[in-house]
């Protein structure tokens, strides 16, 4: 049985239709990440699950019980806010103990649970400090501690790491993953950072303007994006897209005319795409710097080259006006402004029909 399930969930703020029918099943112990561009409704959806926003239509079920009209505390969830929302006048101890104080647990039990949480989060030596004297990462851990002590069925995180610097962020990311392993509870995590999404998630939910664009494991989304939006959103640098027209599709091979770049023949069963304006996609990391037998080759002139040591990134513009990014291992010599040949294997190419849906 699903731990959490959303059925045709919708949300409108007055006129604005923000969440447009979401169906989602989350099973127990899963780490689910919501990603999507800013303003697509990630926080709104999370707040609806938490019980902070009313549901305009549809049903939210937690542990088999419809919770649409229940207050947060009866839903068995705990939330860590985008801003940490710590109580600045209370010590770290009292911040973590807050939910237990609300429940009026006996002091011994409060001590036990707060100490346990503090131990997990390495906050033992900070318990008597105020949040104002803590670093960003420590504050974040206090906020998580407050969520842990309730022993909720589901943890909800709203971009908990978004304001930390890069080093601290990757450190906290690992801590959170360890925490998930140790507690084994269901976690729903909102972010717009793809590295977080790719590394932490069992299941990623890609949201686009209030609808689910695709649900899948990180590698599924990476290798088999359902549509142009997901293909462009997952992966960094972004997938390269080239526009073309299908000149023929006979059920085994689709021939795509890429204009000045020539034609490319892709193994595709669909006949329906014949004559359509399509987009082919190739990930920058799947490009090779030389001509290779049996691969498609195009020549571009990089106008900017970034040497990162481990990688070299080239930026160029295709004849059709599309931006074309290349990512190559190591530091090969690719001078700016000089034509070079780039090739890629045909089985790495994604094809999207005129509606933007992937054709495999």
């Amino acid at each position: 049985m699903a731990e959490l399930s959303l059925k045709r969930v919708e949300k409108s703020f007055n006129e604005a239709h923000i969440i447009k029918g979401i169906d989602l099943e989350v099973s127990e112990g899963e780490f689910v990440v919501f990603v999507g561009p800013s303003g697509c409704g990630k926080s709104t959806l999370l707040r609806m699950i938490a019980g902070l926003e009313e549901v305009s239509a549809g049903e939210i079920e937690i542990g088999g019980r419809i919770v649409n009209d229940l207050p947060p505390v009866q839903r068995g969830i705990a939330m860590v806010f985008q801003s940490y929302a710590l109580y600045p006048h209370m010590t770290v101890y009292e911040n973590i103990a807050f939910p237990l104080r609300v429940e009026r647990l006996p002091q011994a039990e409060v001590d036990k649970r707060v100490d346990a949480a503090a131990k997990v989060l390495q906050l033992e030596s900070r318990l008597q400090q105020r949040p104002g004297t803590l670093s960003g990462g420590q504050r974040q851990r206090v906020a998580i501690g407050r969520a842990i002590v309730r022993q909720p069925r589901i943890f909800l995180f709203d971009e908990p790491l978004s304001n930390l610097d890069a080093a601290l962020r990757s450190e906290m990311r690992i801590e959170l993953m360890e925490l998930h392993k140790r507690l084994g509870s269901t976690m729903i995590y909102v972010t717009h950072d793809q590295v977080e999404a790719m590394t932490m998630a069992d299941k990623i939910v890609v949201l686009d303007a209030g609808t689910i664009s695709q649900i899948g494991s990180p590698l599924q989304l990476y290798h088999k994006p359902d549509n142009l939006f997901v293909a462009g959103f997952i992966g960094s640098p972004k997938m390269d897209f080239i526009n073309g027209t299908v000149s023929s599709a006979d059920g085994t091979t689709a021939v795509v005319d890429l204009g000045e770049l020539g034609t490319i023949s892709l193994p595709r069963q669909s006949k329906a795409i014949a004559g359509q304006t399509v987009t082919i996609g190739i990930r920058p990391e799947h490009l090779n710097l030389d001509r290779r037998e049996g691969e498609f080759t195009l020549s571009v002139t990089p106008n900017i080259v970034e040497q990162l040591g481990i990688h070299t990134v080239t930026y160029s513009t295709l004849p059709g006006g599309e931006n074309f990014i290349g990512l190559f291992e190591g530091d090969p010599s690719v001078p700016e402004g000089q034509k070079l040949d780039i090739s890629f294997a045909l089985d790495q190419v994604h094809l999207f029909d005129q509606a933007g849906l992937a054709v495999y």
Binding site: L52, V73, A78, L86, Y87, P88, F98, T133, R146
Partner: protein, 317 residues
């Protein structure tokens, strides 16, 4: 920004200014190596100008007090001497002792003033705190109109409404009681206090309420445990302003709604120093100063709760 923050900033401003001058004095010609950040450094003539400005301002504010105090030290005869001497000759604190005999009810008047203001303040706080919370946090029909209405009420001073108020008090049988001074006093101070505290409470991040709600706290629990402690500086400002306001406006209400001398507050009581023949100015001044004391004590007491920056660390900025 709230008055609290402004007061503390002002305080911090003056202290850092004097620190600057000290630092400047030490390294007089260059003034560069003081530990001040660049933005806090002033040229010598800027400092002179700042202090000159402050001196002029302070003179206008404080001169009446100084003169009043000097008068209270002088024997009555010296007050009408020509040429007039500002500095008392053989001045003494006699007036501070004799005034209790000249006006035997003086202590009661002072007590009345203090009592009326205290009760007004308590009533205002009890009403304003929940009201401000509601206006800061809930969206309900008519909240905008109500807030606008409060401002409108503030535009009428109590004086304009004296006649209708008088009739109202008479109908309700409140004339010549403490209530005659307490009720209108509180009523006229509540609207502006709601505005002040509402603004203050709106600065407390809403996520704190939401976090408490998610953790199972009721609205009242959140108000008590989260919002009130954080709003404390704002509440203290409201309390101080109300207390002072109540102290100041007693005069007009006492004058119109009360004729019983045992309920008289100090401002009315001071008329007792106006004798048939002469006004005992020195004792009048002395009594005024003693009358201000309770306000001073209250402010000094409440000031401890004016802690700025209490919300530091609540949310990431």
């Amino acid at each position: 920004m709230s008055d609290v923050a402004r007061t503390t900033e002002a305080a911090a401003g003056t202290s850092s200014l004097s620190a600057t001058t000290q630092a400047m004095a030490r390294t007089a010609p260059r003034g560069r190596r003081s530990g001040r950040p660049m933005i806090d450094r002033y040229k010598w003539y800027e400092i002179v100008l700042l202090y000159a400005g402050m001196a002029v301002f302070l003179f206008f504010v404080l001169a009446p007090f100084i003169e009043g105090f000097l008068v209270s030290l002088k024997p009555l005869s010296q007050l009408f001497s020509t040429p007039y001497n500002f500095i008392p000759q053989n001045g003494s604190f006699d007036a501070y002792f004799t005034m209790w005999q000249s006006v035997p009810m003086l202590a009661l008047y002072i007590f009345n003033s203090f009592f009326i203001s205290t009760v007004v303040t308590l009533i205002v706080i009890a009403v304003v705190v929940p009201a401000a919370y509601a206006f800061a946090r809930f969206q309900f029909g008519g909240s905008g109109i109500l807030l606008g209405g409060f401002l409108a009420v503030n535009m009428f001073s109590g004086a304009v409404l004296l006649i209708p108020l008088f009739r109202l008090m008479r109908t309700m049988g409140l004339l010549n009681t403490y209530w005659a001074m307490i009720v209108p006093g509180a009523a006229f101070l509540i609207p502006s206090s709601i505005w002040l505290l509402r603004t203050y409470m709106m600065r407390i991040p809403r996520e704190l309420d939401e976090a408490a709600w998610v953790d199972g706290a009721s609205r009242l629990y959140t108000l008590r445990r989260v919002v009130l402690p954080l709003a404390m500086p704002g509440i203290v400002v409201v309390a101080i302003m109300t207390f002072i306001g109540a102290y100041a406006q007693q005069f007009i209400f006492a004058l119109t709604f009360n004729s019983r001398s045992e309920f008289m507050p100090l401002p009315i009581g001071l008329f007792a120093f106006f004798g048939k023949q002469e006004v005992i100015w020195n004792e009048l001044m002395a009594a005024s100063f003693i009358g201000i004391l309770p306000v001073m004590i209250v402010i000094v007491f409440l000031q401890r709760y004016l802690v700025a920056g209490l919300t530091a660390g609540a949310v990431k900025q």
